[in-house]
Amino acid sequence: MAHELVCGVDVGSLTSEAVLLKGDEIVSYSIVRTTHDSGESAKAALEKALALGGIPEKEISFVVATGYGRVIVPFAQKNVSEISCHAKGAHFIFPSARTVLDMGGQDCKAIRCDATGRLASFVMNDKCAAGTGRAIEVIASLLGVPLEEVGAISQRFTGEVPRISNVCVLFAKSEILSLMREGAPVEGLLLALCQAVADRASVLLKRVEVEKDLVITGGIAKNSGVVRAIGEKLGIDPLIPPEPQIIGALGAALFARELLSRRARSSHLASTQ
């Protein structure tokens, strides 16, 4: 019973992920672009994960959906908030995790969990683009740099970091343009951007009273510039999962596993009565 195949689906604002879990093993996973239809995006993620693992859909025993589009996933038996899922998923990869910073495309969450990976408290910013993936997206496209390369390129810079005084991304755009006109190098501006995003994240982390170990999840965890800047600001070496983008879906799959075994126990109880 403990080794049934379960699935977690995370429908985020920019990408959707699916994780297939059997016991403690991630059998397959996928990351797809979220479209305007949450249900379709979830389906696409699931189908891709099944195809990559060569697994027929009927083998899945339980599906939990999470993410902002979680309520419209037709094939999920249950949905769980992405905050609980990130705590659970991060704790599964790093049992020492007590703080999780989930840096997504449109929001940023600082989450505290207990020694069992259960959510203790959180603060989030989903109202302002500063400090979210959107800020990096907007500025990267302004500077003509591919999003995935922002971190690496920023780390090449060694000079004095240009100062971006605006927090608001809309204002920062014009500030960065004028810094460019004054001859500021792109690498330096990208480093300033990474540090600015790290500043916003640190504000959230301080509000939940960050405790070691700190795990960073979400797409921005792949940005070495932001991760390094957060580490330097807080004096903590953040832990990064091998695939930080699937931690929400992994957490959902772990909830699916838990719910399934609870259900199995109660039906076992019912049949013995």
Binding site: K127, C128, V167, C168, V169, L170, F171, S174
Partner: protein, 261 residues
């Protein structure tokens, strides 16, 4: 003769006054360092008035980076200047809503237009001129056309994001869904007016209320804002010049005390 210079994020404004009358004014796009920009404002004014000497008259500078101008005699705040400028046109002014490119500032003045209190948003792009400019560009219309919108019969499509950057993508979605342009504009005006109104309410507006700054030329926005506040709003001619005009008036030292000089 006195000179008032207002260094904005988008535009630099300068007004030359003599005997309580405006004798020259310029508005130009801000470019380069603040200190060079302020001097350029004087040179542009001088070019309009042949026979004026090289040395600037008594000059007050307000706006961004005014502290970096060593040669001026005073550096009053934008709030004091907008109050003084608004009073020049509308004697009864007690509240000024300065709608600028990069910020919204609401100031309350006493009967002599001395600054009594203010609330400002200069950190967030929501509801600012740059946001409206971005939206106009996305919709492919001019800022002027934006302000000429006929509102009476057009229901707004609500804008749920506060953040200007998130609102941009929300509007892209609306355009893709085929929402009529007029409904999008109505929605944006509602959102911006709501944002401004909450700042105005925070200072407790007293009549008369005057709107200044470049964005106050948007008639449709002023109309929606009046509805949100339930108070009539007056807009002086050339509202974008009020900061510079106020600086020039304050430099003449007639009645208003000056902050920061």
């Amino acid at each position: 003769m006195t000179l008032g210079i207002d260094i904005g994020h988008e535009n630099v404004k300068a007004v030359l006054m003599e005997d309580d009358l405006v004798t020259a004014k310029v508005v130009f796009r801000a470019a380069g360092g603040v200190s060079r920009t302020a001097w350029e404002a004087w040179e542009r004014i001088r070019a309009l008035l042949p026979g004026v000497g090289e040395d600037p008259p008594r000059t007050f500078v307000t706006g961004v980076g005014r502290d970096a101008i060593p040669w001026c005699q005073g550096r009053p705040t934008e709030m004091s200047c907008h109050l003084a400028g608004a009073k020049y046109w509308i004697e009864s002014v007690r509240t000024v809503i300065d709608l600028g490119a990069e910020g919204i500032k609401v100031s309350k003045g006493d009967p002599s237009a001395r600054l009594m209190g203010f609330v400002l948003n200069d950190r967030c792009g929501a509801g600012t001129g740059i946001f409206l400019e971005t939206v106009a560009e996305m919709l492919g219309i001019s800022l002027e056309a934006f302000g000429e919108q006929q509102l009476m019969s057009i229901p707004p499509i609500p804008l749920t994001s506060t953040c200007a950057v998130f609102a941009e993508s929300e509007i892209v979605g609306q355009i893709h869904r085929g929402v009529p342009r007029e409904m999008i504009i109505s929605g944006v005006l509602e959102a911006v007016a709501g944002r401004v109104a909450s700042l105005v309410k925070a200072v407790g507006p007293e009549r008369d209320v005057v709107a200044t700054g470049g964005v106050s030329r948007n008639k449709a926005l002023i109309h929606v804002l009046e509805r949100h506040l339930g108070i009539p709003i007056m807009v002086p001619p050339e509202p974008q010049l009020m900061g510079a005009l106020g600086a020039a008036l304050l430099a003449s030292g007639l009645e208003v005390t000056v902050n920061g000089s």
